[in-house]
Structures are given as structure tokens and as C-alpha cells.
Amino acid sequence: MSFETQQKELRDLCAALLRDGAVESVIGFGERSDSCCVCPPIAAKREKDAGKLAWNSRCVPNLAPYLPLRGKTAIVAKPCDARAVVNLIVERQIPRESVRIIGMDCAGMTGADGNPLRACAECGERRAPVADDIIANEISSRRELEDTRGEYSAKRFKDEMKKCILCFSCRQACYGCYCQTCFADRVLPNWQPAEPGFGAKMTYHLGRAMHLAGRCVECGACENACASGVDVRYIIRGVTEFIEKEYGFRAGIDIEASPVMQSCSMDDRNVGFWGGDERE
């Protein structure tokens, strides 16, 4: 099985869904206009549009931010996109009935140069954990990963921040950044200093990382969107790992879960508190 057979299966499925009226539209990837571009998102609303859906190694964007469309929508979802959709349902942003997840087995996407994207190289997910349809591929087993975390130091953070131009593309690309007004855009109170110095970048990136704690699905949309090549994700990744270890929560795996930062327990430990980690 390959991209072509998966693409054919996908088109057949979507044509059937649209013909039967099972869904009103399908959000998917369209053909790219140029070999260096990523596949743009398209919405297929009629049966004949299903033939425009593409599935290849450049289906890079995360389509979850385009939800919800009017009426029941099917979404072509890589494992990370499917996790994003599940987390949007968990956070009550979209009703479960309004979306049909078409889970595409995914071996990872590539950049314009043909090399795997950083997030995809670090990803062990091969099949959507929750999906209504699965378009299978034989690569569906989970992969063992090498440790690519690197060191956590002030120097690394500063070096990444030096490259950032505070364009907020990473926020725009992220499925999790759906607030109507981002704290970085607020005027009263004005969290974000106007001058693009280290303080402003630190406030933005640490604030955003805090907001994505326990919600990041490691899709890499933020770093793919960054024109300056900032590794925006490594701090969020560290936090995600901490939450997984400490609270046993991974975003977008369980559709019945309650969001980890909106829950609490008497049994939580005082991690990093003054006077030690003792349980009260």
C-alpha cells in the first residue's frame, strides 16, 4: 500500500459520504500547485469534488483549526490531526456528532527537500487513536524513537529566542490557540511589551507554552509555520512529557477524558514547592 492506494480509497470513501449525505463537507488536502508548496486545505462539498482530495508526503498542515464548518463535516486526519480533533471535542469546542474523523495511517510527512519534518521524525504515532474511518497502510505499527530532546539550558532558550521575530505564525497555525483574543494581543492589560526584546519573546513563548500544557498534540504545525526556523516546540514538549509522567495524561487519546489542567486531585504532589515534595 502506498500513498496512491490510500488516496484512491480516500476519494472513494469521501465520494460515497457526500453522495449519501452522511456529511455536508469534507475538509482535506488539495493538490499542490508547485512541488515546493504544501498541500493546501480544501473543503469538498459535492461528490465530484472528492476527486480533488490529495494524499501524499506533503500533506503537512494540521486541518483541525478549520473546524467546525456548517453541518456535519468529515476531516482527513493524520494521527496528530485526529488527536487535535479529539482534544477539541474534550474541550467542548466542537460537538462529537458534528465531525467524522477519517484517520489516515501516516508514516510521516516531508519538507520541501524530501527529508522528514522534525516533528514527524520525532513522532511514534502511526494510526489515529480515535477515528470513525481508518484508511489503512501497512506502516501501522508504533515506532520506537531515539531521544532527541537535547539539553535544557538558558543558552538554548536564548538562542532560539534570538531568531524569533514575534510574527505569531506559530500561534495562527496551532489548533490549540483558538482564543478569540490572545493574551499577546490584549491591550488591557498589556502583557506583551511592544518592543520585540527578550522580555517580550519570553512572555509570549512561555505564556503560550503554559497555555498548551497538556494540550499539545506534537503536530509540529508551529515549527513548520515559523519562517525563522525557531524550535518553538521543545519547551512545550518538555512540559508535555512532565504532564504525562506526573498526571498520566496525553492529549487527544481518550475522548472521555477531562482536560488535565482543568482537573485536580487531593493526591497531586507538591512538585517543586517550597519545603519539598511532601504530600499534605
Binding site: 526584546g197 527578550f198 522580555g199 519570553m202 519547551i235 489542567m261 497531586d268 512538585v271 517543586g272 514547592f273
Partner: protein, 148 residues
């Protein structure tokens, strides 16, 4: 840290204190004449759960040498569970600051009840000592704020 920690001014520590416990605890420390350093700038909040992590990040970005947050002991929250939501948030924030290379001793969370004036004084003394040992926040006084 390096041995050449130079302070040209007193350390500034922003303290977010819960109205129902730690703020009263600080009051008690005062009325019972407990000695503690005048480094803390107290901001009264209705609950430790009201402390948005961005307050802490912003305080550090704007040059505070240290931040402490103190609320009611778990189980004693005036709003039942505000401090327990805060506990997760603070654990994660502390981890995040550690990952991004901020000295972990700049930010402290603790529980101080209204009857623990002595504990409050002890916390402030200890937090001030730890911050003093780290030296001034590099982002303060226009320091590296304009460098990048």
C-alpha cells in the same frame, strides 16, 4: 551560581498572597513582630487559583528578582478547590521555567495558613536568601532586555 554576585540594590520579590490565608498570615507575622526582610512586595489575590501563570512570567520578564505565591493548604481553600488547580498549574510552570533555563530558585510556591505567621516569616527569609544568592535578575534595570 558564580561567586561574584553583586547587589547594588535590595532584591525585589513579588509575593502573590491569598486573601483568606497567607495575606492574614503575613498580617499575623507583622502583629506578632516576626522579623523578615523587607524584600517582598505583596499583591493580594482572592485565591492562589487566581494567579495566572502569566503574572509570574511577566513579573520575571519585567525584572522582578523573585516571585513567590502562597495560598491555603490543600483542603482548606475558601473556594473549595482553587488551590488544587493552582497546584497543578504551579508544578507545570516551575517545570517550564526549569526547561527554559530560568534559575528554579527565583520562583517559589508554598502554603501558609492564617495562623502561621512564623511560617510566613520563615518562608520570606528563606526565599530572600535563595534569591540573594542568585544575584539580580538579568532582565532587570534594562539589562539584557535590549540585547536581543
Amino acid at each position: 551560581m558564580e561567586d561574584r554576585v553583586v547587589w547594588k540594590r535590595a532584591p525585589v520579590i513579588i509575593a502573590f498572597l491569598c486573601n483568606w490565608c497567607s495575606y492574614a498570615g503575613a498580617d499575623l507575622a507583622g502583629t506578632s513582630r516576626q522579623q523578615y526582610p523587607p524584600s517582598v512586595r505583596v499583591i493580594r489575590v482572592p485565591c492562589s487559583g487566581r494567579v495566572n501563570p502569566i503574572y509570574i512570567i511577566k513579573a520575571l520578564a519585567d525584572g522582578a528578582d523573585g516571585v513567590m505565591v502562597s495560598g491555603c493548604h490543600p483542603g482548606d481553600c475558601h473556594y473549595l478547590a482553587g488551590n488544587m488547580y493552582a497546584r497543578r498549574r504551579f508544578a507545570v510552570l516551575k517545570k517550564l521555567l526549569e526547561i527554559s533555563g530560568m534559575e528554579p530558585d527565583r520562583v517559589h510556591f508554598t502554603w501558609v495558613s492564617a495562623s502561621e505567621g512564623t511560617r510566613f516569616a520563615e518562608v520570606v527569609r528563606d526565599v530572600t536568601d535563595k534569591v540573594r544568592a542568585l544575584g539580580p535578575n538579568a532582565l532587570a534595570d534594562g539589562g539584557s532586555r535590549y540585547e536581543l
